[in-house]
């Protein structure tokens, strides 16, 4: 079989044993899960941590004097340290637990409402997810700041010279993704961060799509804010992290009021708690945070460079096979990209292809992928997106290619 020609030492069959869901069938076929950019699957090591939490030490944290509360607090704070180490943040309190990337972005956007002034500018890239566009548009409405767009080329790469062109001393904030969810493009964020800092603009990086494939080092990047979601990297839904450089987190006002985030409260005046609690009002997703740390441990035990290397082999193999299909158009052919392929077949609607693939047990995403500006750029209603993870196989890609061919035959 073709997949045996791929030389790899990566033991994917052993890894697949960790993911019970990969054994199920869908519509009578063994599941092929290629919607990893939307959400990843969960290994039993992470599920075990969730069960252990609810079986043994479920309690509210930080305020209890009893043992369970203390145990839960210790594990939760240990989880924060795990994330800190993973991102190489200087301080643990620079790690704010959130409900996910969208929450993290909104928290920062809300904070900037009291910093930005009318007429000041903020820059966004042309390849953002709606969640990294809409909160900033709302911020502009509130403050009178102006939103400017860093354009991209036909290959789905940002045009750096245009970025240099629109960046000015009037630019206060630059926000873009590390990796595009619709195209897989890896953006040159280090270069962009350094350049933005030369005019004292802050930079927020949406790391949701990068985090499952690339281990970001926030100190090396010198980034001001970096946001990620657990559920895209083998963790549970409803939990994520905002990394913020201490000086920025000190500057931003709290996002939500409530318990946990206060130092003292009276009807005359409330003083806020220090970091990270200032931004963590209310009872957090305790179990989620602990399980997120378990997911990071799981992925780190496999190794991010091993994961990235294997995924690149999957990507190249799938791209080569797809291109052999007549009428195939792949969107996003940046020189550096993660294991995501967005495509259309000439004359066919992505929804039709996705529907038939599903009937053959193959999960892909179709539509605009919450990135309508990208679809407008390419003048298409949407794409079919296949996104791979380290637990996918070359054999699954072969099945996917056969299914795409069959769908094409049925639809034409």
């Amino acid at each position: 079989m073709s997949q045996q020609t791929q030389a790899t030492t990566f033991d994917v069959e052993r890894i697949r044993e960790d993911f019970p869901i990969l054994k199920r069938s869908v519509n009578g076929y063994p599941l092929v899960y290629f919607d990893n950019a939307a959400t990843s699957q969960t290994p039993k090591q992470v599920m075990d941590v969730i069960v252990d939490y609810y079986s043994n030490y479920n309690a509210n944290i930080h305020r209890g004097v009893h043992s369970l509360s203390q145990e839960a607090t210790d594990k939760y704070e240990q989880a924060r340290k795990t994330v800190q180490q993973h991102l190489n943040a200087e301080k643990a309190h620079e790690i704010i637990f959130t409900s996910g990337t969208t929450h993290g972005i909104n928290l920062v956007a809300n904070g900037f409402a009291s910093i930005l002034k009318e007429g000041e500018e903020i820059l966004v890239s042309a390849m953002e997810h709606h969640s990294n566009i809409v909160p900033w548009q709302m911020l502009c409405e509130k403050t009178g700041a102006k939103l400017k767009v860093i354009p991209m080329n036909d290959r789905g790469e940002l045009i750096y010279s245009e970025f240099e062109e629109i960046l000015s001393p009037n630019t206060k904030l630059v926000f873009l993704n590390h990796v595009s969810n619709a195209l897989g493009t890896v953006n040159p964020i280090k270069k962009i961060i350094d350049k933005a800092h030369s005019v004292n603009a802050a930079v927020l990086i949406d790391g949701a799509q990068a985090a499952p494939h690339i281990k970001a080092d926030v100190q090396e990047l010198g980034v001001d804010f970096y946001v990620i979601s657990a559920h895209k990297m083998c963790g549970p839904t409803g939990v994520g992290v905002l990394y913020g450089r201490e000086e920025w987190l000190e500057k931003l006002p709290p996002y939500q009021g409530g318990g946990e985030m206060i130092a003292t409260v009276s009807f005359e005046k409330t003083t806020y708690a220090g970091l990270p609690h200032k931004f963590e009002a209310g009872t957090p997703n305790i179990c989620g945070g602990i399980a997120f740390a378990a997911a990071l441990d799981y992925m780190n035990a496999i190794g991010f460079s091993e994961i990235a290397g294997y995924e690149q082999e999957l990507l190249e193999y799938a791209a080569k096979k797809l291109k052999e299909i007549e009428g195939m158009k792949i969107y996003g052919e940046a020189s550096e990209k993660t294991a995501v392929i967005s495509f259309n077949i000439e004359g066919l609607h992505p929804y039709d292809i996705g529907t038939l693939l599903d009937k053959m047990g193959i999960a892909v995403r179709t539509g605009h992928h919450c990135a309508q500006p990208i679809m407008d750029f390419f003048k298409i209603p949407g794409t079919v997106r296949a996104s791979f993870s380290f637990y996918n196989t070359f054999g699954e890609i072969d099945r996917f290619i056969e299914a795409v061919k069959k769908a094409k035959m049925m639809l034409q």
Binding site: N27, L348, H349, Y351, D352, T355, L356, K359, T366, G367, P381, G382, M410, L411
Partner: protein
């Protein structure tokens, strides 16, 4: 033919197929027979919301019967619309308002009926019935 009779006819047709692939191939064929909507009605006001693909529906009265024409940019969606229109078109609005749509289940398209499904089959049915309500008022 009444709505009920048309539904039974469609159930009969689909019962000939052994697997999903034949059903979908037939649906794709049906899509090609859809009474095509006049280009001038393919406007945003006639778009059905909630579909990943675009669906336009136009309704007009022919005597006391309501006639639907439609189109979609996706062929499977077009097949689903064709089935609905075959059932509901050329019927009195009151019949359309009262009709049930359990036949969708019987022809193996139940999974398309989920309100969270992005193809908007539920929205399509709702829209056809809304037209019927509007024209019913006009007939009275």
């Amino acid at each position: 033919m009444t709505i009920k009779e048309k539904q039974e006819q469609i159930i009969d047709e689909f019962s000939m197929f052994d697997d999903w692939m034949q059903r979908y191939e037939y649906m794709i064929e049906l899509g090609k027979t859809l009474p095509v909507i006049d280009e001038k009605y393919k406007i945003d006001e006639n778009l059905i919301k909630g579909c990943q693909s675009k669906v336009w529906v136009h309704a007009e009265l022919d005597g006391d019967k309501l006639v639907f024409t439609a189109d979609s940019d996706a062929i499977i969606t077009k097949g689903i619309v064709a089935i609905l229109i075959r059932v509901f078109s050329n019927q009195h609005p009151s019949e359309i308002i009262e009709a049930d749509t359990a036949f969708i289940d019987e022809i193996g398209l139940k999974d398309h009926l989920s309100p969270t499904r992005a193809n908007g089959l539920v929205s399509m049915i709702k829209q056809l019935k809304m037209y019927a309500v509007a024209y019913q008022t006009q007939l009275n």
